[in-house]
């Protein structure tokens, strides 16, 4: 099983969610994060001081899928999250050793 971590633009969340649902991904976990990359931030001014805010709001998705679905999921996310502009984000794929569904004690692929 794979853990797919995707950092996307916040307003793309809804589209990505739908794309994933389309290929049968049934669960995910979403975190608000701040991203730092090539995309430039903005400048904030408070009276005497100017601050460069180089952290931009991003949304992080964590999705665990069976090995078979992983490639399709990455594709779906890439397609839905792309705007072609800098700051579109990244996807990281990690290997997961085990999955447990708390409610039922199921394990492995069955628990995904």
């Amino acid at each position: 099983m794979k853990l797919i971590i995707a950092i996307i633009k916040p307003f793309k969340l809804e589209e990505v969610k739908e794309a994933l649902a389309g290929i049968g991904v049934e669960g995910m976990t979403v975190t608000e994060v701040k991203g730092f990359g090539r995309q430039k931030g903005h400048t904030e001014i408070y009276r005497g001081s100017e601050y460069t805010v180089d952290f931009l709001p991003k949304t992080k998705l964590e999705i665990v899928v069976g090995d078979d679905l992983a490639a399709k999921a990455v594709e779906a996310i890439t397609a839905a999250a792309k705007t072609g502009k800098i700051g579109d984000g990244k996807i990281f794929v990690l290997s997961v050793e085990d999955v447990i569904r708390i409610r039922t004690d199921e394990r492995g692929e069955a628990a995904v």
Binding site: F11, E14, H42, T43, E44, I45, Y46, V53
Partner: protein, 493 residues
């Protein structure tokens, strides 16, 4: 146009020519007088001393104060020519309350309803409008609204830079309040009216465009309406102008404030177009907490608006206080119950919307209807805008973001009409001679207000669009107006 044809001949004659002359002249003069001068005319030299008032007359003057009536002494002889303390105190309180309605009341009410990334843009718009309108009002706005020597549509420039508005004098507004306080009370109305429009165009209009739009709009819509409805020589000032072409009544701004802003908001929001992602993305209020605080402040501030419009702490003010309370509380409750029945939940936004709707709808009649009529008005205020906002708006595909039209446009129109229905001389003697045919006059006022607001706003909006553009770039809109237009964020961790 057909609405204009329905107007009485006297009005038809005046209207077209004077109207355009008025708008043009207002706009032109504005520039001319916008230069600052610290010189002011010397105070009028005292006229040849008139006869001393008798003791009886002096007591009569004091009694007139107690009753918020005209002095009995001859002009210039009263020993108590200045503002009367109780009434003037109430006028100061009322003015402070109306300013409180805008800052922070309305800013919070609207600010809570937008998304997090745009909260400061709402505040900036409210603050900016407050500053801009105050400067305009001082320069020429008060004078164009209430300066003497104008016509039925607009005042004059005789009181530009508040020249001749003396704090020790009375009579400009009413018998016992300082002329200066009259100018300030009216200023507080002039500030909140354009600020109401902000709700319809929230989250997607450039700050510069908002300011330019408001500047033009004040000259083309607000100053003329304040004059027409509340100046003693105004076109629609039923209670004070015996020659009024339309003998309508509007206690605290159903037409002047809520209809002009509401209908203008409708037009502007159509021309502007919907927010990016409208209908697809979730655009829920980011803080019903702020919205609720704003609602409480609007409610309380509205006492200044309505009971303050009595221009004295008298029986009319007391009645307006009661009608305002009853309508607001009832409408809030009814709107929430309506939601409960139709959607399964009484929401806090429902309470807030209903309360504001109740306040809007009672405004034109606050000092003209009885408390029990106010309860009925409150019930209707909880139902009619609710239906519009919950069902009809979606049909029209309108992105009236925070429901300025739904609440102020629909509610203001409803209020103007219901005032015609429920106004009663039991509540206010002024109603007596006007009651016959009042409903028709109210409808005429409604029609004129709608046509004027819609046409003027459309023209102004296209001018602003042509000159500086209305909307920010899509990236700016996506990322939020706060960081891009104001260089700040509403909440920092």
């Amino acid at each position: 146009m057909s609405a204009i044809h329905g107007l009485p001949p006297a009005l038809r004659e005046l209207s077209m020519k004077t109207l355009f002359k008025t708008i043009l002249c207002a706009l032109a003069l504005a520039g001319a007088t916008f230069t600052l001068t610290a010189q002011e005319s010397a105070p009028a030299a005292p006229a040849a001393a008139p006869a001393e008032p008798t003791l009886e007359q002096r007591v009569g003057d004091i009694e007139a104060y107690m009753n918020n009536a005209a002095r009995v002494t001859e002009a210039g002889t009263s020993k108590i020519a200045g503002p009367g303390p109780g009434h003037n105190a109430w006028q100061m309180v009322s003015t402070a309350l109306v300013i409180f309605m805008t800052l922070p009341g309305l800013a919070l009410f609207y600010g809570g309803l937008v998304r997090k990334k745009n909260i400061l843009s709402v505040f900036a718009q409210c603050f900016g409008i407050a500053g801009l309108v105050t400067i305009l009002w001082w320069a020429v706005g008060y004078s164009l609204s209430f300066g003497s020597g104008g016509n039925a549509f607009i005042g004059s420039l005789s009181n530009a830079m508040l020249n001749g508005v003396e704090s020790g004098a009375t009579g400009a507004g009413y018998y016992w309040i300082s002329d200066t306080m009259w100018a300030m009370f009216q200023l507080s109305f002039a500030i909140i009216t354009p600020a109401l429009i902000v709700g319809a165009i929230a989250e997607r209009m450039k700050f510069s465009a908002v300011l330019l739009f408001v500047t033009l709009w004040m000259f083309a819509v607000y100053f003329p309406f304040a004059h027409m409805v509340w100046a003693t020589d105004g076109l629609m000032c039923g209670p004070l102008n015996p020659n009024a072409a339309i003998k309508a009544i509007d206690f605290a701004g159903g037409t002047v404030v809520h209809m002009t802003s509401g209908w203008s908001a409708l037009v502007l929001c159509i021309i502007l177009g919907p927010r990016l992602g409208f209908g697809k993305e979730k655009m829920t209020p980011h803080s019903m907490v702020l919205c609720s605080i704003g609602t409480g402040m609007l409610w309380v501030g509205w006492y200044g608006f309505n009971a303050g419009s009595a221009l004295g702490a008298d029986a009319i003010a007391s009645n307006a206080f009661a009608t305002t309370t009853l309508a607001a509380a009832t409408a809030g409750f009814v709107w929430a119950v309506a939601e409960w029945i139709t959607r399964g939940h009484p929401s806090v936004l429902g309470f807030c919307s209903g309360i504001v709707a109740g306040l809007v709808v009672i405004t034109p009649g606050a000092g003209f209807v009885t408390p029990s009529s106010a309860v009925i008005i409150g019930i209707l205020a909880g139902i009619v805008p609710f239906i519009f906002v919950s069902y009809l708006k979606a049909k029209f595909g309108l992105d009236d973001a925070l429901d300025t039209f739904g609440v102020h446009g629909v509610g203001g129109t409803l209020g103007a009409i219901l005032t015609g229905v429920f106004a009663s001389e039991k509540a206010n003697a002024v109603v007596g001679p006007l009651k016959d045919g009042l409903l028709v006059e109210q409808l005429k006022a409604v029609a004129l207000t709608i046509v004027w607001s819609v046409v003027a706003t459309a023209i102004i909006a296209y001018i602003v669009k042509a000159v500086i553009g209305l909307r920010p770039t899509p990236e700016v809109e996506r990322q939020g107006l706060d960081i891009n237009e104001h260089g700040e964020e509403g909440y920092v961790d």
